[in-house]
Amino acid sequence: MAYMETIKLETTFEGMHDVTQEVQDVIRKSGIQEGIAVINCNHTTAGIIITSFWDKRGHVDIQEELDKLIPLRYDYRHDFDTPTDAAGHIKSAICGTGMTLIVHEGRAMLGSSQGILFCEFDGPRSRKFFVKVIPDL
């Protein structure tokens, strides 16, 4: 039986929020040993990525480099909201809003330095994302 849970979090402005433990907890709670886990968030100015947790200053680098690639310009065509929102849409599209993980022996198979990050490209906001764990047939 597949298992799904919604995880809520309060983000900060351009915050990088470690959600590795939350995801692992859902997988553990599901009781599923072998299968896949799908993570997705339903926001367009946030993203979910995997990156190294060896040095957390690297997370700031990610936001900074993204900001250089996709600056908070005020003259995007999408000017209905704010520059942060317009740039956030692009950052989110590039990073992706979810991923699929392999579940093995009751855990997501992540490398020793890998972790899952919820990236806020606007914020502070109330956010949520979904984790669904599906067992092998």
Binding site: F13, L72, Y74, D81, T82, P83, T84, D85, D122, G123, P124, R125
Partner: protein, 377 residues
Amino acid sequence: MDRKSYDNSLLRQAMSMERYAKIVYDAVLPQVEKLPMKEVWDAQKIFISGCGDSWLAGIAAKAAFESVTKIETNPMRAIEFSRILSNKNLGYSPNTPLVILISFSGSGSRVVECARRCNKYGANTIAITNNPDSLLGKECRYCICTGLPKGDEYQPGLITYNASMITLFLIALRIGRVRNKISYLECEDMQKELLEHISRCQKEYEGFAERAFAIAQRWKDLKAEDFIGDYSDYATAYFGSAKVIECFGGYTTYDDSEDWCHINYFLSDPERIGRVVVANEDTPSYKRLKETIAAVKILQSPCVIISDAKKEEFPDTMEVFSFPKAKYFWMQPLVQHIPFDMIAGYIAEIKGIPNFRKDDERYAAMGDQRSGEIVVL
């Protein structure tokens, strides 16, 4: 009767408006320029709130905010903002809405309540106050001090009303500039024009005072004053009514040009009700206002018209206070309340009634506005 012996606070304040405007302008401009660009951008909606005159300053500045920033702007009664407004309107997106809270002393319970409610839901707040160390100044994310010298004469509020408006206008210009809705040239010109329009009008006041005194003598025994104005000019009308009450406790009522025709047209004893209409030539409802003035004429009420149009535009039985045209129409509320302030001030002085019913000890029951209960919903 010698006008000089009927000097009063509102008149003195009106006469020194230019000087105070300069003080406020110089104090506020550098503070406004420090408002961060990102937060200015994040404002998708603006609320302006405060009690009494401060709320009116918000209404007076609504047209300015809309024309200069192109952001939806809602002046709101303090109690509506803190208790009635649904919290869905607060903090639904980062730093939005932008809430501007106005209080000269910064200590009234209700505005503090508004600020705390914003903080609870994540709205961005700017306080406009003369006391940055006040509770309001501390609760808000940004505090703009109007910089009026302590201890001068500010009651009943006139200079403080103007200070709020000047500050609001400068904030609007800052937002418009950051969002590139007005160019540098326009912004510079508007800033300059703010003070220049006040100076230009100041020259008229000596003559206005003369006429105001004559009107005050005729109007002192009227039953009530009825004020009419639309949109931003509704603030001018409402403000006039507030001054009547503060100065001599007179009976007043107010409405817009359309609803007046449906309701207040029917007030009894029209010949004993003084009517005041604010009708500017460039306002979109100017023709409507003129129709309303025609209806006032039917009733033969004594009538004062405040306008930037020529005297000849209106029936000759009516007293017209013509103001110089403002280069930017939204600046008119800065000055147009002056004629009726003068009239109210003179009536009070002629009748010998002190401001805020200080002659009647029962009214002292009001006590301190700070003591009210604060409820954060």
